[in-house]
Point group: D2
């Protein structure tokens, strides 16, 4: 269950992060924010790569930010685009799957616009047959927020 | 020019970040820290991927953390390993090259141990023929720390 | 429309490729095969990375193989696992989306077992809100098989 | 030891592969070719990604092509650019390091132009402190060309 306050906080942080997008190539800024099970929020923006495999989506950067702070149990990932409703790409959704394996609650994926409008779905609606690792399941579920 | 205080700060943050490494597969923790031209420090740890392309080195996570905060001009990247002196891998060095294109000073790469010992080299010593983007040079150099 | 002969050919090539999997870390072999609109088949296997971002799924390797031969218009991607039915991960599905933008037909995703059993779905069933690039749409649709 | 005939074959295949580059974004084509210890050559071209982490360098595609055919022991990697001498980026060099761990000979890196001119260096000259995996060393060295 995500509260309206939590969504407002996610939109605020995603909007702030979006302004830092390092987009010398794509010129298309995205912002993202991750909500932990304790209610903390970590932001991210997209990063273009000079080398075509070294860029990163805003959602991944926000998740890296959370992990760097010792947070692995998350409740929601929000992505914001200036122009339209977008959802995390397949790569981001797949990356989020491993945090689902570290988290007890079903992770929510939220698509927002700068004006505050949003849509919300379950991770499994967006990636119904995502890859979950049976062999790492126990180890992943042992990661608790610090 | 990196001061002893800056190196101590980098080692401290890299050590703290290393404890958050999300290493359910490799069981080998690394910590990293990025020093901006204004003297701020951002940390990162390594993150294993359930999918074999979705993991990330500690240095990349630290750089993502810096960019998410609007910092693109950096002076140094430090990496710490419990056991031995390691340098950033080729992927990390190549990623750092694009921050070299956003930064005026020559970026220093520091390899440290938990006990405080360290070695320092120039980025160009470790990747003497790294790829720098001529076509994006002007845009990259326009990114200034916020 | 995929014929039974085409599926048999995909399974055969995916099985052969699976034996080449470079899996010094995961010890879990996958094979994949890509069917072009002209009926050619290109194989791939999974490749572990010493560095946690440098591995690759079998489906991506098979698509790289097709592109290296000048093939961008594809009809189907099949993945095979010794033990059970698996579907391409979110990263692979997202990568396939750009070939969907180069292809006229709806790309089919096939999950097969070594014994010849298989399941088939549309790409859009597995990644209903995948990211498609409007700004690159025209250029992508201009790539024709050589 | 690489013969003149082997270099000519590498340049020929890299040139052919370069024409297949899937470059809807960067518009900058690269070709690459990998020489195995038995003298076989596998080609690759660069592939742009709609998603900024999903592109691939020509050298990686050529290596994927070799592995998909069961070849892990390599002697040389060549990269070709229409305009100037370029060397593999840090990511490609790091990826080649794991094939160095599967190969007995020191891998040569060759930078060529379409007109046949070339420069040759050792992998270790271009990435003097590349990351080699001690913990996977034995397993990597067990991969033999099929």
């Amino acid at each position: 269950m995500i509260t309206k306050d939590e969504i407002n906080k996610l939109i605020e942080i995603a909007n702030l992060s979006e302004k830092n997008a390092y987009i010398f190539k794509s010129h298309h800024a995205f912002g993202a924010a991750v909500l932990t099970t304790e209610g903390e929020v970590f932001g991210g923006c997209n990063i273009d790569g000079v080398i075509s495999s070294l860029g990163s989506c805003a959602e991944v950067v926000a998740l890296h930010n959370a992990v760097a702070h010792g947070r692995y149990e998350i409740k929601a990932v929000l992505v914001i685009d200036e122009k339209e409703f977008v959802y995390p790409c397949g790569t981001c959704l797949q990356f989020i799957c491993q945090f689902q394996q570290s988290s007890k609650e079903k992770i929510k994926i939220i698509s927002a616009k700068i004006n505050g409008e949003y849509l919300m779905k379950d991770l499994t609606e967006l990636l119904p047959n995502g890859y979950f690792s049976d062999s790492n399941a126990e180890k992943l579920s042992a990661f608790k927020n610090k």
